[in-house]
């Protein structure tokens, strides 16, 4: 196929802007015990959190970079050139009118206040290290639903927060969960009481405004027995010449019969290292579903996981990844079966454009003593140009003889004949490519809430524009 490709960045102009920094609190460069003390002092963290952070710092420093299996690009992260905490010292506002102008303009440009008006139950908008805006609909908070940022969560709701904090993802899980455990700031804390089904989604939006900065949001969501909630997160950053680091930890807990859906559309600019640890525990008959779309960033490493701890628990990961030139999307899923009759489902579709690279890593673990567990995995890759790359590393460990597991994988190209057929019907080459690519991910896009799926299609079309000469 005679398509040429421009290796330069696709226009991400929607998110590519920034305002001058006016930080009241700046932890300076590098991460040491002094940085931790600074962060704790500014945030007025309780002692148990200060200790937690300091222990995590040691774990982070002791652990090596996992480059024996992950990409060597990780070695390009300069931990000493990053600022670990920046904020204007303000508490999150409950009304957009009270949010400082530059911050408000940022979120208006990204469409957040409008979305909130139209269809959300609550919004957290984080700007660099802290939440600038945090609001929940009265109807929802009247039901006892708690939706605040992590600082408020650990201070005002310690009795709910602390028992689960660091239990789903222990500090030492990996080098970056340890880093997050040391430097975390922002992120959401959500508690949904028994039987409460939150009708509209809760949304968080993470925005990086500053250069040489690391954002470490920490999210903990606990859905009590029989309750249900959907949480959506979006993220963007302006494109800086220097690298930015985003290392989040998301812990989900679904109690008996609860349902939790976590939707992410990640569109970081191409200088961001996005290293995220996400995991959920599903108790008896509960369900944790990750719907994950990765379009941006220089390197994303993210393997949403579910530990099915109770009988008949269900875990699901739906993942779409798009890697353009200069990008590596290293994503996948982890399904750990720890009870009988648990079911897990993984569907991953990736698209590699130009010299982009996408990788799928999937872990499925079913131990011998369990009965009647099921796993279904489907991972499909689409290669657009001749130098596009995709890799698949399934790690399936199943023992015992009453389980059903299925693994399907495919790699395909958009055929020139398909493009010609569509052109013969009047579609330009670019339109034909877009249609083909959208067709490839179509059944997954439908899993996203409608408002997100429209935006998703738009983002993918934008990416496709550059892939055709």
């Amino acid at each position: 196929m005679s398509t040429t490709f421009s290796a330069d960045d696709i226009d991400r102009s929607k998110g590519d802007f920034y305002f001058p920094e006016r930080n009241k609190f700046d932890a300076g460069y590098g991460l040491t015990e002094r940085t931790i003390d600074y962060i704790c002092d500014v945030k007025n963290d309780p002692d148990w959190v200060r200790d937690f952070r300091k222990r995590a710092l040691k774990v982070f420093q002791d652990k090596p970079m996992p480059t024996h299996w992950a990409t060597k690009d990780l070695e390009n992260i300069r931990f000493d050139d990053i600022r670990y905490y920046l904020s204007d010292g303000q508490k999150p506002k409950r009304s957009w009118d009270d949010v400082p102008d530059d911050v408000k303009k940022t979120f208006e440009r990204l469409g957040i206040p409008e979305q909130e008006r139209k269809f959300l139950a609550g919004v957290e908008a984080q700007y660099d290290s802290e939440a600038a805006y945090s609001n929940i609909q009265k109807a929802v908070s009247d039901q006892g639903v708690i939706f605040v940022n992590s600082s408020e969560g650990l201070k005002e709701h310690e009795e709910i927060f602390r028992p689960w904090f660091g239990k789903v993802i222990p500090t030492g899980d990996n080098k970056f969960s340890a880093l997050n455990s040391a430097a975390f700031s922002g992120g959401s804390f959500i508690y949904v009481p028994k039987g409460v089904k939150v009708k509209h989604p809760l949304q968080a939006y993470f925005r990086i405004n500053s250069e040489n900065f690391g954002q470490f949001e920490r999210t903990l969501i606990i859905v009590d027995e029989g309750a249900e909630v959907m949480y959506m997160e979006g993220c963007t950053a302006p494109k800086f010449e220097t690298s930015t680091l985003h290392s989040a930890v998301v812990e989900l807990v679904a109690m008996k019969g609860a349902k939790l859906q976590y939707v992410t559309v990640q569109n970081w600019s191409s200088n961001v290292f996005n290293l995220v640890t996400k995991r959920g525990i599903a108790h008896e008959e509960a369900e944790v579903k990750w719907i994950d779309c990765n379009i941006g960033s220089r390197l994303t490493m993210k393997y949403p996981g579910v530990i099915m701890k109770g009988r008949k628990a269900r875990g699901e990961v739906i993942s779409i990844a798009l890697a353009n030139s200069g990008q590596h999307q290293d994503t996948g899923a982890k399904m750990i079966h720890a009870a009988d009759e648990t079911t897990s489902n993984i569907v991953s579709k990736s698209i590699s454009i130009g010299e982009g690279r996408s990788t799928y890593r999937g872990q499925v673990h079913i131990p011998r003593h369990l009965k009647n567990c099921k796993n279904n995995t489907e991972c499909d890759a689409l290669l657009i140009n001749s130098h596009s790359r995709t890799d698949t590393y399934p790690a399936i460990t199943v023992r015992g003889n009453q389980h059903a597991t299925q693994h399907e994988a495919s790699v395909s190209q958009v055929s020139a004949e398909q493009i010609f057929y569509m052109q013969q019907r009047g579609l330009s080459e670019g339109q034909a490519m877009s249609l083909s690519v959208n067709g490839f991910i179509n059944d997954l896009v439908r899993a996203f809430p409608m408002e997100y799926s429209v935006e998703l299609k738009r983002l993918i079309d934008l990416e496709m524009e550059g892939s055709v000469g």
Binding site: A416, E417, Y421, Q423, L427, A432, G439
Partner: protein
């Protein structure tokens, strides 16, 4: 719309396939092209549609006087050219309805949205005419379709896009008599004084249902004989040998 081809030479790689093809199809007429295997029938269709594997080395092709060889494949389509493919390709994940909508939308002037209700109305009417089950609207284009269903789908697209000139590349291959009749019905419903058709076929049988005004025979990359519908009947009865002798004699 009229199609005018003069002395067309085209090759794929090093192989010369069309070797001086001249053909004139005035608007309102249906012309049939027959010929032995390898004579260049499908090549002609692909070259007219603008397939990038083929290179035109000499000659011209115009639609109502406009040079189509200078246009990209999609431009030619929007200029009014339609090709019903011999082997229609599958497009997974893209529904028939969405595909047709996209194709029609591509022809709208900038900023004009297609009327969705009118679109569905029209599409169902055409599908009924072609005896196509309405379920086909939500199925992915050609995916899992039988040969006959694919050919019917080509004609559905023809009827929806209303091209000014249509080239049908062996539309009858793989069709049983009943499907053939339905497809022919669709094509005949599209005949008009403004529209031209070039029907490429192996077998005379299709021409019982889509009666041509003129029949051409393509051999060795050029038109060697032109006649009325009776020419097709003669070929069916006698094969191509008599023609080959004739051509040799006049060469």
């Amino acid at each position: 719309m009229s199609l005018d081809i003069r002395n067309l030479h085209a090759r794929i790689g090093e192989r010369e396939i069309l070797q001086g093809l001249t053909l004139d199809v005035p608007a309102g007429e249906v012309h049939a092209i027959m010929g032995p295997n390898g004579s260049g029938k499908s090549t002609l269709a692909k070259v007219l549609a603008g397939h990038e594997d083929y290179e035109v080395t000499e000659g011209t092709a115009t639609l109502d006087g406009k040079d189509i060889l200078a246009m990209e494949a999609d431009e030619r389509s929007r200029a009014g050219l339609f090709l019903a493919f011999q082997y229609p390709i599958e497009i997974p994940g893209v529904s028939n309805a969405n595909f047709l909508r996209a194709a029609l939308q591509a022809r709208q002037p900038e900023g004009v949205e297609l009327d969705a209700v009118a679109f569905y109305h029209r599409m169902y009417a055409k599908m009924d005419l072609l005896e196509m089950n309405r379920q086909f609207t939500s199925r992915a284009v050609n995916e899992g379709f039988s040969g006959g269903e694919k050919k019917r789908n080509e004609i559905l697209q023809l009827m929806m896009l209303e091209p000014k000139f249509a080239v049908l590349d062996e539309t009858d291959s793989g069709l049983d008599i009943d499907a053939l009749k339905v497809v022919a019905q669709g094509v005949n419903a599209m005949r008009s004084p403004e529209r031209g058709f070039l029907v490429i076929t192996h077998y005379q049988r299709l021409l019982d249902y889509i009666q041509p005004d003129v029949v051409h025979v393509l051999m060795g990359g050029r038109i060697v004989k032109t006649g009325g519908p009776e020419l097709a009947l003669k070929l069916e009865a006698q094969g191509y040998d008599w023609l080959k002798d004739e051509v040799l004699v006049s060469a």
